[in-house]
């Protein structure tokens, strides 16, 4: 894991002291709210419906046990005993007092955690594959590159006041767990014909009110030129981004307006001007960073107990089949711990659960945890011999739900229960859908599926990428939920298409149930997934299930 050096620590201490002074000035009246607001946002502090919310970054989604313990302590000491893991590998505390925020940040800085650039029109937390360093199909661990980009972008003087927020993700596996195509810049590690490592760069991805997938700007950029190319892209965006209209200010709009070829020409022109200053920049730092991401010392243990548990304990066997993914070492597993027990608020964890996860990571996963884009926790390096004991410990804490990647593993933003931007609730809808699926006992029969629920057009739950996406809106004072079908987060990423008119809050759960049951009736075999069935048949038979009362042959598309 990355270890902050003296420079990093000094930077965080100075930043915290600066924010403490800014908070004091606001509380004394020396700073107006208008002056203070951008300063608090730069430090991840929002004002939400019920309180201030502090968003803390989890760079490249990696936490040590000590960091998870520190986050649990924040939840207990300054929040109300729980926290919320987000779809961008951040953690949010929903009940923070402004006056406490400097103390929290000072406390977290001791473990290398911070809230720098988790808000505002800057380069946000750099995200990556939660299976990084453990996945059998990656060409290299993407985290050193993600860390290099994080170090480069933190407090970068040219990019603190961008036209709009800016998101970068890094991936190194064909499945693209980091969803790079949905980011302003997506970096996918590649090897060229000589075996050299570089990155494919895509630009212009993003969801929100104008969902677009990124387009390839450069098929292969050597690592020696990566920072120079990023500088060039950000420079071009800084010039082209619409500062007059926040709804058209993201890079995706500039790419759409000017076209990828013209953007490429401008980027290359800028890159050629700065290349000699940047070529090779970061390689020395990258070599130092890579040292921190070496594989842990994997143990060798007999697997007899694991095999016996699989044979003797059906609940364990089902959990292992669903939640334990293949590791690059055959005798290890990557364990996903869903924060999605049916009826729970997706992504929420109590301080007690967080402490247990930290302890279990120390015991079974070399002290390392990951946070996923699906709001779950991952223990990346668990020996299969330890899986039965891990399962028992999780089961006692309500964390052994065998639903990773299944229908109750629902991704949901905080929605109108907490968020000042939301237009509808999302967590209660997710809870109701999960409870209904649990009651029907059809989850394992349905198999892999992604249900994603956003409480507003900003799409924090990435509903466009859900096999079933749900968007909550307000229409004439009432919550309405639109369904999109056929989205996909993993490569090849696809945006879902709106199925038709929205559903009222009391109609959305039965609508999803009709879709799920419809799939079971329509699939040609149990091996055909919901997504594959939808792809084969198209949306028409699914729309017929969603809108059974529509006139035959005239299933509504975009009315209302």
């Amino acid at each position: 894991m990355y270890q902050p050096d003296t420079f990093d620590r000094a930077f965080l201490q100075a930043r915290t002291a600066q924010f403490r002074s800014q908070v004091a000035q606001r509380l004394s009246g020396a700073l107006s709210e208008e002056e203070f607001r951008p300063l608090r946002l730069m430090n991840g502090l929002y004002l939400q419906l019920h309180a201030y919310m502090l968003r803390v970054a989890i760079p490249h989604g990696t936490l040590s046990s000590a960091q998870m313990q520190a986050l649990a302590e924040v939840a207990d000491r300054w929040d109300r005993g729980h926290a919320h893991f987000t779809t961008r590998q951040n953690i949010q505390f929903n009940w923070i007092a402004l006056k406490d925020a400097p103390d929290i940040l000072e406390y977290l800085a001791d473990t290398g955690l911070h809230a720098v650039q988790t808000s505002g029109n800057t380069i946000r937390n750099v995200t990556t594959d939660p299976f990084a360093g453990a996945a059998p199909d990656e060409i290299a661990d993407p985290r050193p590159v993600a860390e290099l980009v994080r170090l480069w972008s933190t407090d970068h003087p040219e990019f603190q006041y961008l036209p709009r927020k800016f998101k970068i993700a890094v991936s190194a596996s064909p499945d693209d767990h980091a969803i790079t195509r949905a980011h302003d810049i997506g970096l996918r590690l590649r090897r060229n014909e000589n075996g050299g490592t570089g990155v494919e760069i895509s630009v212009g991805g993003g969801l929100g009110r104008t969902p677009m997938l990124g387009q390839v700007l450069m098929p292969f950029v050597p690592l020696a030129d990566l920072l120079g190319m990023l500088e060039a892209i950000l420079h071009v965006y800084n010039r082209l981004g619409r500062r007059d209209n926040r709804y058209k200010a993201r890079l995706k709009i500039a790419v759409s307006t000017f076209g990828i070829d013209r953007i490429r020409t401008m980027v290359v022109e800028r890159f050629e001007r700065i290349r000699r200053h940047h070529h090779g920049a970061g390689l020395k730092v990258l070599a130092r960073i890579e040292h921190f991401f070496r594989s842990p010392p994997f143990a060798r243990k007999p697997l007899d107990g694991y095999a016996a548990a699989l044979a003797a304990d059906p609940a364990f066997a089902r959990w292992a089949a669903t939640n334990a993914a293949a590791h690059k070492r055959a005798d290890h597993a990557i364990v996903t711990i869903p924060l999605k027990a049916p009826g729970a608020a997706p992504g929420d964890a109590s301080a007690g659960q967080m402490r247990l996860l930290a302890t279990l990571a120390a015991r079974y996963s070399h002290g390392e945890l990951r946070v996923t884009q699906a709001q779950n926790i991952v223990l990346p390096h668990v020996h299969r011999a330890d899986l039965p004991a891990l399962h028992r410990a999780l089961d006692g804490a309500g964390l052994a739900t065998a639903n990773a990647g299944l229908a109750t593993d629902i991704t949901a933003c905080p929605g109108l229960d907490y968020c000042a931007l939301a237009t509808a609730r999302s967590i209660p809808v997710a809870q109701e859908i999960a409870r209904r699926i649990e009651a029907l006992k059809i989850e394992h029969e349905i198999g892999p599926i992604e249900i994603r629920i956003s409480g507003c057009i900003n799409a924090c739950a990435h509903h466009h990428l859900g096999t079933i996406g749900i968007l909550g809106l307000e229409r004439a004072g009432a919550e309405t939920y639109q369904i999109t079908l056929g989205g996909q987060a993993r490569a090849p990423a696809r945006l879902g298409e709106r199925a038709g008119p929205g559903f009222a809050a009391n109609e959305i759960v039965p609508a999803v149930e009709r879709l799920l049951k419809g799939y079971l009736a329509l699939r040609k075999s149990p091996e055909e997934s919901f997504a594959a069935c939808l792809h084969r048949l198209g949306p028409r038979p699914f729309r017929a299930r969603l809108y059974p009362d529509a006139p035959k042959g005239k299933h509504p598309r975009h009315a209302a």
Partner: protein, 110 residues
């Protein structure tokens, strides 16, 4: 022509803590909407809003929230949730809500 004025309460967030507050009679800030003053007169409501906007060391984001005077219930969904708290508070793994103000209401009940 100006829009019809609904009886409203004056609401904001407390500056140092962030909690939801309402203006009660006597220009006191309270947390319970049931104690808030119902402002039925547009001129008085707008005057109090202008006053609240000067209280920059006490509160943030002052606004008028239309309510049903009989029930003291806000008309807008967002304000109902601000008044009642989130509908979806997490449970401890023992299965009990982890704070007294939690209130679980299913989607079908709004």
């Amino acid at each position: 022509m100006s829009r019809k004025f609904h009886p409203s309460v004056l609401t904001a967030n407390d500056l140092p803590g962030g909690a939801v507050v309402y203006l009660a009679p006597g220009r006191q800030w309270v947390h319970d909407i049931a104690l808030a003053e119902i402002l039925a007169d547009r001129n008085r409501a707008e005057a109090l809003l202008a006053w609240a906007e000067t209280r920059t060391l006490e509160i943030i984001g002052a606004c008028l929230a239309p309510i049903d005077p009989a029930s003291h219930r806000p008309l807008a969904n967002r304000e109902r949730i601000r008044a009642a708290g989130p509908f979806s508070l997490p449970r401890t793994h023992a299965g009990t809500p982890n704070r007294k103000e939690s209130r679980h209401v299913s989607a079908r009940h709004l």
